[in-house]
């Protein structure tokens, strides 16, 4: 076996395993003083990891382990984006994790989060359904632990149980679908399987089952029913991780597999996606209007955003892939900024997450309010913030392939989404409140994370080089 190839192409995963092991060892070995610095050490390690892996060292596609693992520069870009998201989540988690009932298990938090990240990396790079499934499970099971991390809180435990049950059910369905594929095509390698894909009834069933499994991870309607409860119950840092990193990885690998494996059946999955997109965007938007809890509110907003992400998947073009990755990146910074503010407010006000609690926030915490506002504007797609550009690009991607009516429906839905995003803005700026949340100073790492997100929201759209860089490596059907 050629070990040098493994090291030269799997560098991301190997380095990540290194970080995980380092976290485990540090957790065991560090003394009292060392534990105080745990947060800084982990962020520094992760930063080092990102700096080392962000550059695509090879420009060509390569296979390792006989095709089980595939290297591609685009995959590298996506993995880096996921790692940056994780870093921001880590930065935001400090105040929460330092609390008494979670302090003693902060090592677990880092290890579990990084394990899910590792799982997602394998999921993206998989060239074989077994590899893909292992990656998916590695991303799901530790996630359930994370969701239930505040296990003394009733909500968190319930959310964890809900998550793991739905995840297992979805995984089961997906495995069933994969077994159909194996039965009809005779192989589980992506590259070989294409030859055996002919759109037979069994394969359509396989497609639907497979799609259900990933639709659960991305939380598309009608597989979204776990989302609101889990998002509400989970610790806010975990919710933000769940809503961006996990979702982004699943959406990207869905696009890869639909293009690579189900390429010959594109008309079937395009129809499927068409319906799912319309449902996701519309239903999630309508539900979001009624939410009074900001975490639930952002849960529904993230479902509708997932629908928008699927607009890029449905196109199946290189340009579509570029706009998907760009959308995910922009969505990530905006959503993490919003969750960062929510988390900061929650930690410093004794757990307030209701929309009414935010009334008059501008009077006491103007900076946080402005960041939240810009994040929501970016999510709603208002220029000159990055969200406008990413939305425009996915619309263009779907439009190019002739999905005119779909784009129109999605566009009209942006108005509904603007309405509910503005409701939060209205609460913070306009609605008067006699006793708003008092002014507070959030911790330095949260401030740093918000600054990073803010820079992303402001600059990602105006500076076109990020988009061009992704476009260089993207590929289509």
């Amino acid at each position: 076996m050629d070990y040098s190839a493994i090291f030269s192409y799997m560098y991301t995963e190997i380095a990540l395993v290194g970080v995980i092991v380092a976290a485990l060892v540090y957790d065991l070995a560090a003394g009292k003083k060392g534990r105080q610095a745990f947060h800084g050490v982990m962020c520094a390690l992760l930063l080092l990891f990102i700096a080392g892996t962000v550059y695509p060292y090879h420009k060509e596609t390569a296979e390792v382990f006989g095709g089980m693992y595939v290297y591609n520069p685009v995959y590298g870009i996506v993995k880096s984006i996921l790692a940056i998201g994780t870093l921001i989540v880590f930065l935001q988690s400090d105040t929460w994790i330092r609390k008494e009932d979670t302090e003693f298990k902060r090592g677990e938090f880092y290890v579990l989060t990084l394990s899910t990240l590792l799982g997602m990396d394998f999921m993206i790079s998989a060239g074989h359904f077994m590899m893909f499934f292992i990656g998916l499970e590695l991303a799901s099971v530790p996630m359930a632990c994370l969701v239930a991390f505040d296990k003394y809180k009733h909500n968190s435990a319930e959310a964890g149980a809900k998550y793991i049950l739905s995840a297992l059910f979805a995984s089961g369905l997906m495995l069933y679908g994969i077994s159909f594929l194996y039965g009809t095509a005779g192989t589980l390698y992506f590259d070989d399987m294409v030859a055996g894909i002919n759109g037979s009834a069994l394969q359509i069933m396989a497609l639907v089952f497979f799609f259900t499994g990933l639709g659960f991870k991305i939380s598309l309607v009608p597989f979204h029913l776990w989302t609101a409860d889990t998002y509400e119950g989970a610790p806010t840092s975990v919710t933000s991780y769940l809503s961006v990193v996990s979702k982004a990885a699943a959406a990207f690998s869905l696009m890869i597999i639909l293009m690579k494996v189900f390429g010959p059946m594109s008309e079937y999955w395009q129809t499927l996606l068409y319906i799912v997109i319309v449902l996701s965007i519309t239903i999630a938007n309508l539900f979001a209007i009624r939410q009074k809890n900001l975490k639930r509110f952002l849960a529904f907003s993230s479902i509708s955003q997932a629908g928008y992400i699927m607009l890029a998947v449905i196109s199946g073009t290189p340009y579509g892939m570029t706009s998907l990755i760009f959308y995910v990146l922009v969505y990530m910074v905006a959503n993490l900024a919003a969750f960062g503010v929510i988390s900061a407010v929650e930690q410093n006000s004794g757990g307030k997450v209701g929309m009414d609690d935010y009334n008059g926030l501008y009077r006491t915490n103007p900076k946080l309010t402005v960041i939240m506002t810009l994040a929501l504007f970016s999510l709603a797609g208002i220029p000159p913030f990055a969200g406008f550009f990413s939305k425009f690009f996915i619309f263009a991607a779907a439009f190019e392939q002739g999905f005119h009516v779909l784009v129109l429906i999605a566009l009209l839905n942006t108005i509904i989404s603007l309405y509910y995003y503005l409701l939060v803005v209205k609460a913070m700026f306009i609605t008067p409140n006699d006793s708003p949340i008092p002014a507070f100073r959030s911790d330095n790492s949260t401030r740093l994370s918000l600054l990073l997100c803010l820079a992303g929201i402001m600059a990602l759209g105006i500076v076109s080089s990020v988009f061009d860089g992704i476009n260089l490596y993207a590929f289509g059907m």
């Binding site: 340009y319 570029t322 504007f377 208002i382 220029p383 000159p384 406008f388 550009f389 425009f392 690009f393 619309f395 263009a396 439009f399 190019e400 005119h404 784009v407 129109l408 566009l411 009209l412 942006t414 108005i415 603007l418 309405y419 503005l422 803005v425 209205k426 700026f429 306009i430 076109s464 988009f467 061009d468 476009n471």
Partner: protein, 494 residues
């Protein structure tokens, strides 16, 4: 850097200046410097532009500049102006300048107010200088969203409702514009987003044009107060603070007319010919219905808002006539209406700031109490009803002249119907002036009120000078516009 890029750049710098300024004095200093700079630059631009035309530059867009922004979609940051956009930039600069002075006495959250105000002007200027579909649309949306907070936070009355209604309706319009832009871009072969290049290609199939033309026209028409999509306008204007009403009615509503002309009609010419009759009917309704509605309102701002619906309807009405005279009249009307409606809203704001009511049933005899404001109000009213010597006359005369010259019964009938709006305008303006300015003052509280202060006088005088200037010497402006309208009109007919 191109001189045109300075127009959006200066408000951005003003925002930075506002951000670091610490008290009202510094804020005012930043705003006055920036706004004067913009006004000076806009006047200089007019002379530069006319000079270049006199030197024999015949290309459609002058002062052009572009650099590639997003290569995969052929998006460029491309700027350039013709006579229409020069006129609009001048208008915007005047309104921004006077709007600054009209909000001199703003007390709550001054800094934030001017920050959003500057963002609004970034969008407005950016829109008028762009010749790239994407950048144009981007600036269009930049101009819309600050309205929500400007009305919601600093407005009066049912401000939250009005702000939300206005934002959602205008954003709905912009959603239609976005899909229309994609339709144009991919319909023209997905090679360029540059407006002049797409027009030169002239390769969008007529069936596709017939889909995208109504969509884009309605999209921009929402902002241009096209019936039945005008309902945001009265509520929005009535609730907005003075400077925002001025900028919104004065400039922002012109974005609608400009967009309809520059994008919908210029890029989709065949559809414009075939489908214009539908929109002619709608705009005729706008014109007459707006005027009638103004007659029965009792709130000063509502009266002016409905009057705006009527006058902006006339802008769209004129460009749909598809001839040079009417289109020149449309641009003149945009200018004239922008100036006089800004003057109206400024005066209403000043009166409201003193009397704390805008209900005309509670106002009377103001002429004795505040003669300066009242005389200016009369001038604004006379400009509105088209008195010769003021700008309204020039614009409406040109429009109806052009409209009537279209040689068929349908166009002539709608022109006659639209003409009645002049009479109705006279009814509500004269009734209003008689009611609130003359007669005896019944409210003893009002007798203690004072006349305009220096900042208010400055704002008002600048606007009146512009209105009278346009009315007394319209030719230089109308020639500049006329030359630039010609390529668009001839493109539609070829």
């Amino acid at each position: 850097m191109n001189i045109l890029s300075l127009f959006p750049a200066i408000p951005v710098l003003m925002m930075l200046g506002l951000w670091i300024s610490r008290n009202t004095r510094q804020i005012h200093a930043v705003m006055v410097t920036g706004a004067s700079l913009l006004l000076g630059l806009a006047i200089a631009l007019v002379f530069v532009y006319l000079g270049m035309r006199a030197d024999g530059h015949t290309s459609e867009m002058l002062l052009t500049d572009s650099f590639v922004w997003y290569k995969p979609l052929n998006i460029e940051y491309a700027v350039g102006v013709d006579g229409i956009s020069v006129a609009m930039i001048l208008l915007s600069a005047i309104i921004v300048f006077t709007g600054t002075f009209a909000s001199w006495k703003m007390e709550t959250d001054v800094k934030e107010f001017f920050l959003w105000f500057c963002l609004l002007s970034v969008g407005v200027f950016g829109f008028f200088i762009s010749v790239d579909l994407f950048t144009m649309f981007m600036f269009y949306e930049v101009a819309l969203i600050p309205m929500y907070l400007l009305i919601g936070v600093w407005g009066t009355g049912r401000k939250e409702y009005s702000a939300m209604k206005l934002t959602l309706m205008l954003m709905g319009g912009s959603a239609l514009i976005l899909i229309g832009i994609l339709g144009i871009y991919f319909g023209a072969g997905a090679t360029t987003m540059d407006i002049t290049e797409i027009a030169a290609l002239h390769n969008i199939p007529v069936e596709m044009q017939k889909i995208w033309f109504p969509i884009i026209f309605i999209g921009f028409g929402v902002l241009g107060a096209l019936f039945p999509f005008h309902t945001w306008s009265p509520d929005g204007h009535a609730s907005a603070p003075t400077a925002v009403s001025m900028l919104h009615a004065g400039v922002l509503m012109k974005l609608g007319g400009y967009g309809c002309f520059r994008i919908a009609m210029y890029l989709l010419p065949e559809a414009a010919q075939e489908l214009s009759w539908i929109f002619i009917i709608l705009t005729t309704i706008s014109v007459v219905y707006g005027a009638f509605s103004a007659c029965v309102q009792t709130d000063l701002k509502y009266i002016n808002a409905y009057s705006s619906v009527s006058h902006c309807g006339l802008v769209l009405f004129a460009i749909l006539m598809l001839n040079q005279t009417a289109a020149t009249g449309a641009v003149l009307q945009m200018l004239s209406h922008g100036l006089m409606t800004a003057l109206f809203f400024a005066l209403i704001g000043m009166i409201y700031g003193r009397t704390h009511t805008r209900d005309i049933r509670q106002l009377s005899g103001l002429m004795k109490i505040m003669p300066f404001l009242s005389v200016c109000y009369v001038i604004a009213g006379l400009a509105n009803l088209g008195l010769p010597g003021l700008s309204g006359f020039v614009a409406e005369m040109t429009i109806f002249n052009g409209a009537f010259s279209v040689n068929d019964t349908f166009h002539r009938v709608v022109t006659v119907i639209a003409c009645t709006s002049i009479v109705i305008t006279a009814v509500y303006i004269l009734r209003l002036i008689g009611k609130i300015l003359y007669g005896t003052c019944t409210n003893p509280e009002h007798l203690k009120l004072t006349d305009a202060t220096w900042d208010e006088r400055l704002a008002v005088i600048v606007l009146i000078v512009a209105i009278a200037g346009l009315g007394l010497a319209p030719l230089w402006m109308s020639n500049m516009i006329n030359d630039s309208v010609l390529p668009i009109i001839s493109h539609i007919w070829n």
